[in-house]
């Protein structure tokens, strides 16, 4: 039995400790906001926060998350009002939307650590997140808008 703290809730899961956190989230717990795109840390659709750090849950064994703090897209904000979520909606970022959970989770760490990211900072932080529909320009702008929303409090 593995005890997990996900979005401030406790879950006891009876899974093989080698199971990637991604599949525990999706199949065992039923949190499907975190997505499967490649299974080998190439696309970023599976990014979650482990103790505040962006990790690729498709290659993170659930045992590594035991007793640690995990935040998924569903827990990023309590009232759907994280600056990134607001900015994403304001600028109508998504097309198919499948990559966007991972994009937002990666961006959340960026703007937490860097209050005024430049385009170069954004490119560097985000080039691990693939968007097949090509919404990159809007993601960039939305990150800058989110940083601005965050600065204004």
């Amino acid at each position: 039995m593995i005890t997990l703290n996900i979005n401030k809730k406790t879950f006891n899961v009876d899974v093989d400790p080698e199971t990637p956190l991604l599949w525990v989230l999706r199949d065992t717990i039923g949190l499907v906001g975190t997505k499967y795109g490649c299974g080998m840390a190439q696309c970023g659709a599976c990014v979650v926060h482990l103790n505040g750090e962006a990790v690729r849950s498709c290659v993170t064994k659930v045992s590594r998350a035991a007793g640690q703090k995990v935040v998924t897209i569903e827990g990023l904000s309590e009232k759907n009002d994280h600056p990134l979520q607001k900015a994403w909606i304001e600028l109508d970022v998504p097309q198919c939307g499948y990559c966007q959970s991972g994009q937002i989770m990666s961006a959340a760490v960026l703007i937490r650590e860097n209050k005024n990211p430049t385009e170069k900072d954004i490119d560097a932080a985000m080039n691990g997140n693939i968007c097949r529909c090509g919404t990159y320009l809007r993601i960039r702008k939305a990150i800058q808008l989110a940083a601005e929303i965050q600065r204004k409090g």
Partner: protein
């Protein structure tokens, strides 16, 4: 006007209520300040809905539900199609909730997402539905108020009788309106009076997407659902011989391992029933990871499939060759075939003589590889099949095409088959093919349980249904004064060619010849965003650029000259484009890009334009070298797709098509060795990433009142040509082989 009896369909009325309670299928337009209206926030929607046409339901509280008929894959029909209804209905957009439609072609039309057809197909029917419902409401108000219906007006979800000062919400008359026969032939609004269409509206699913709500096929879940995966052969031209699942069956969570035929011998396939492998080796278990893990323990013997036979509808048979193909041999074969006689597709004048007498002949050959669609959500589908009925749910583009095949395979009549369309994590044409739906259904039937079939990224990328491998040789004949006197395109491919014989520059040149050839293959192919066009534009627009240079002309002016000829004195009668609209996008992009502005000299500029899927697109691409790698820094796009329904969403789509085009032109490509794909995940198949995407993509739409003509595909093909032309300006070398990065890095595919 003709009357048509409304039947309040009680079954769908109730079904809608049940979904309303569940909330999964409903999206909201009222997103002011990122809060939902309290009433709808709790998803505690009223259960009294009154149906006014198949697309519209209204509650007494004046909430207006509009059904989106077409499956959604990022083109945002969830928002734009309901906008069309709301416009003619004269609803207040803030009162609108959107629900994904059921599969119901009687009520909701063809429900096919693809071919850039959604706006074209639904523009008139949705307007008529909105107008009809508005008239039913006016009739209801007129009857209630005892006034002539001509004196009743509407605005933003309200009805008015000015003379008496009476007014009321749509909701208050919905019940009465629902019993009025649906009128036909209603007068539609003038575009100049549009309040909703042509105004940008936020994506109705935006909030759900950014909060991780279950939306996609892969998210679909029911109690007791099992997971299935298929172990495919390692190469095209191979098939299952035998397997030993003894170790697999011992693995935790595994329920069953078996082999299953997809189609029986002689099964007549429809055009979208393409499948790469017919014998399925299936592993079924409780969770995705358990099945993924257990597959690794399979001991499988594969053997050569040899030549096989596919039967298409109408009992047409064709042989699928059994050879294990490698890219190097394919390229050699294509060079051989290119020299052989080919099928004539169009001839104007006397090209043979013109070429013989030419002062200069320019001949160039272009090549492009197979492309994998790589939808970010891999293939998957849910099925629950019993002897009596079937429910299938997941990401698909064309329920209407899959239903007949499902019906045949499951031996169930269509009315016992329910197809639910979830949101798709990308489609690009791949999800118009139904093999994975049929596979899921057959597996569910076999294991007598609800099943979700999942393809891993490796399964998905190596399965096939690719964009074909193409080549084309272009020849142009110039006379002593450098006038263009003849044009010849001979295109080929595996397994089809990409020649559109009646497209520009056909019609602009007196002596014209188009030919095509193809080499059959066991590598399966399918529609990929702007099929055939996505290569033709690359080759043709690169060639026109080279031709313009040889003739000492500006590339845009050269094209405009040809278009002028095509308009004023066209050659032949079957010219598949409107020369005015084509010229217009070139002129617009020339203007907006500051084509001749000396400030832009620091960029290597490439231009290309193309017409496909009924719309016109032109791009100017500004490229620089950055640390020795090509970077498209800016793009200017000019598009004519008729009336633009949701301008910001349309801009998003064009920007996406541009990024997609740059990525595929520079990096995309799938190669084979002895039938096996050499790329099976993103570490080998390169997808364009954030830092490679332009800083700016400026999109301009031609403003006209032409009925919408489509936008998903048209902007995509010319991007390839524009990138090649920009690369030439930067490096001094022409680029003939995709992906262009190979030539830059001096590597080759073979």
């Amino acid at each position: 006007m003709t009357q048509q009896k409304t039947s309040i369909n009680r079954r769908s009325f109730l079904r809608s209520s049940a979904l309303a309670g569940g909330g999964l299928m409903i999206s909201f337009s009222a997103l002011a300040e990122f809060k939902l209206d309290d009433k709808v926030n709790k998803l505690d929607l009223p259960d009294q809905w009154y149906e006014l046409t198949g697309y519209i339901k209204i509650t007494p509280d004046n909430i207006i539900k509009i059904f989106n008929p077409n499956p959604e894959f990022g083109q945002n029909v969830m928002t734009s199609l309901p906008m069309i209804v709301a416009e003619e209905l004269e609803a207040d957009w803030k009162q609108v909730v959107v629900e994904m439609g059921q599969h119901d072609s009687v009520k909701l039309g063809p429900q096919f997402t693809g071919g850039s057809n959604s706006m074209r197909m639904y523009w008139k029917p949705l307007r008529e539905a909105g107008a009809a419902a508005r008239n039913m409401l006016m009739e209801a108000a007129a009857q209630t108020w005892s006034v002539p219906v001509e004196e009743v007006t509407t605005k933003a979800g309200m009805l008015y009788h000015e003379k008496s000062g009476k007014s009321g919400t749509y909701g208050s008359f919905a019940s009465k309106a629902a019993s009025i026969p649906i009128p036909k032939g209603m007068k539609l609004k003038e575009p100049k009076n549009f309040n909703i269409v042509r105004n940008s509206k936020k994506n109705v699913e935006g909030l759900k997407i950014v909060t991780g709500k279950p939306l996609f096929g892969l998210d679909y879940k029911v109690e007791g659902m099992l997971i299935a995966m298929i172990e495919h052969p390692p190469a095209f031209g191979m098939k299952l011989k035998s397997f030993d699942a003894s170790e697999t069956l011992k693995m935790p969570g595994i329920k069953d391992v078996f082999s299953q035929k997809l189609y029986e011998d002689g099964f007549e396939q429809g055009g979208f029933d393409t499948r790469s492998f017919n014998d399925l080796l299936v592993v079924v278990g409780k969770t995705t990871w358990e099945v993924m893990n257990a597959r690794k323990k399979l001991k499988v013997q594969w053997e050569l499939a040899g030549d096989t036979k596919n039967t298409m509808s109408g009992k047409r048979e064709f042989i699928v060759p059994g050879e294990l193909e490698s890219t190097s041999t394919q390229l050699e074969k294509m060079k051989e075939y290119a020299k052989k006689p080919a099928q004539q597709l169009r001839k104007d004048g006397d090209p043979e003589t013109a070429f013989k007498n030419a002062a200069q002949v320019i001949e160039r050959t272009y090549n492009a590889p197979f492309l994998a669609h790589n939808c970010l959500e891999p293939m998957n589908f849910f099925a629950h099949v019993t002897d009596e009925k079937a429910l299938v749910a997941g990401p698909l583009q064309a329920p209407g095409w899959s239903e007949p095949t499902l019906s045949k395979l499951l031996n169930l009549p269509a009315d016992k088959i329910e197809i639910q369309m979830t949101r798709m994590g990308g489609g690009f044409g791949l999800r118009a093919y139904g093999h994975y739906i049929y596979e899921a259904a057959l597996i569910s039937k076999k294991v007598k349980a609800p099943v979700k079939l999942v393809y891993s990224r490796e399964d998905d990328m190596t399965y096939g249904i690719y964009r074909p491998m193409y080549t084309a040789t272009y020849r142009a004949a110039l006379d002593a004064n450098k006038n263009l006197i003849a044009f010849h395109v001979k295109g080929g491919g595996i397994p089809e060619n990409a020649v559109h014989a009646n497209r520009f520059p056909a019609g602009a040149i007196d002596n014209y010849l188009a030919e095509g050839w193809q080499i059959p293959s066991n590598i399966t192919i399918g529609a990929f965003r702007a099929p055939r066009s996505n290569f033709a534009a690359a080759a043709e627009q690169s060639f026109l650029d080279e031709l313009a240079e040889a003739m000492g002309k500006d590339p845009i002016d050269f094209r405009l000259e040809l278009l002028k000829r095509a308009k004023e004195n066209p050659v032949g009668k079957s010219n598949d484009y409107n020369a005015d609209r084509y010229a217009e996008v070139l002129k617009l992009v020339k203007e907006k890009s500051g084509w001749n502005n000396p400030e832009n000299k620091k960029y290597s500029r490439g231009v290309a334009a193309y017409f496909c899927h009924n719309s016109y697109a032109a791009h100017v691409v500004d490229l620089v070298m950055r640390d020795g790698q090509p970077y498209v820094e800016r793009v200017f796009s000019a598009i004519d797709c008729g009336i633009v329904i949701n301008p910001d969403a349309a801009t998003n789509m064009v920007q996406g098509a541009v990024v997609d085009g740059i990525g595929n032109a520079l990096y995309g490509g799938l190669t084979h060795k002895d039938g096996a794909a050499e790329q099976n995940n993103f570490h080998r198949y390169r997808i364009i990433r954030m830092h490679e995407a332009p800083k700016k993509i400026e999109v301009h739409f031609v403003q006209n009142d032409i009925d919408p003509t489509g936008l998903g595909e048209p902007p995509f093909p010319p991007v390839f040509g524009a990138v090649a032309n920009a690369l030439y300006k930067n490096t001094g070398n022409r680029f003939y082989e995709q992906p262009y990065i190979l030539q830059l890095n001096k590597t080759s595919r073979a």
